[in-house]
Amino acid sequence: MPEIHDQVRKDYQKILLDPSNSLVTDTNTADTMSASVGYTAEELALVPAEANLGLGCGNPLIAADLQPGEVVIDLGSGAGLDCFLAGVKIGRRGRAIGVDMTPEMLSKARDIAKKNRIRNVEFRLGEIENLPAADNCADVCISNCVINLSDNKPRVYREIFRVLKPGGRLSICDIVIMKELPEEMQDNPDMHSC
C-alpha cells in the first residue's frame, strides 16, 4: 500500500528535517538509545557520530558475525550506522550496501561517507520490497527495526532470499507482537513507524 510507504517516509523525513518534532527526547540521546538496544561505546566510537540517530531496536551486527571481504546489504539503512559498523568488520575488500527509500536519509548517509572518506560503503535508493541489488550477490543481509513497517513482509523475505548467495545468512532485529494491540493503537498512524 503506497499510503503506508508515504507515511513511513514522512515520519523519517521529520526526524531529519525537524529536530523539534524528533522522537529523540532530551533524556534519551541517540547514544543512550543505542546502548539500551545493544551497541557498546567502543563500537559507536568506530563510526561517525552523526550516523547514529538512535532509531534501532537491537544490534544486528552481533548475530551477523561479519567476516573480512564479505558483501552485506542493510535493509532500511537510515543515516548508515549499521552500514558503517559493517564496513569496519568487512574491511577494504568487503562491501556494505545500504538501501533506504527516504531521500533525505540517503543524502545524509552519503554525505557522512564522503566527508569521512569511507569507500567500502555505498547507499542506494530503493524499497525493501524491491531491493536494488542483483540475485545471489550478498553474503549477509541485515536490518534494524524496519521490516515491521512493511505491509508485505513475505515479499521482503523473498527479496532477501533472492539477493543472498547460496549459503548466505540474514541477521535482523525487529519488533514482534506478543499480544494483539488494542484498536486505538492499531488505528493510530503514529503507532506505525518505529
Binding site: 538496544v37 532470499f161 548467495k165 549459503g167 545468512r169 541477521s171 518505529c194
Partner: protein
C-alpha cells in the same frame, strides 16, 4: 510497530521464503525504547524486540 507480526507468523514467512535454520529470539524492549516510541501507551506489554537469523541453503 503496529504493523509488526507475531513470532509464529514471522517464522512461517521466513520458512516459506526458502530459508532454513530459522531462529527468532525475543526479549523485552528497553525502557528507553518504550519511552521513546510508545507515546505513553505502555507498548511493552504488547511488543518485544527480536533477533532473527536464518540461512539460504547451498
Amino acid at each position: 510497530m503496529s504493523g509488526a507480526s507475531s513470532v509464529e507468523e514471522l517464522e512461517n514467512i521466513i520458512r516459506r521464503a526458502g530459508f532454513v535454520d530459522v531462529s527468532v529470539k525475543e526479549k523485552p524492549v528497553s525502557k528507553e525504547y518504550e519511552e521513546k516510541w510508545g507515546r505513553s501507551l505502555s507498548v511493552g506489554q504488547y511488543i518485544m524486540s527480536s533477533t532473527i537469523t536464518a540461512r539460504k541453503p547451498e
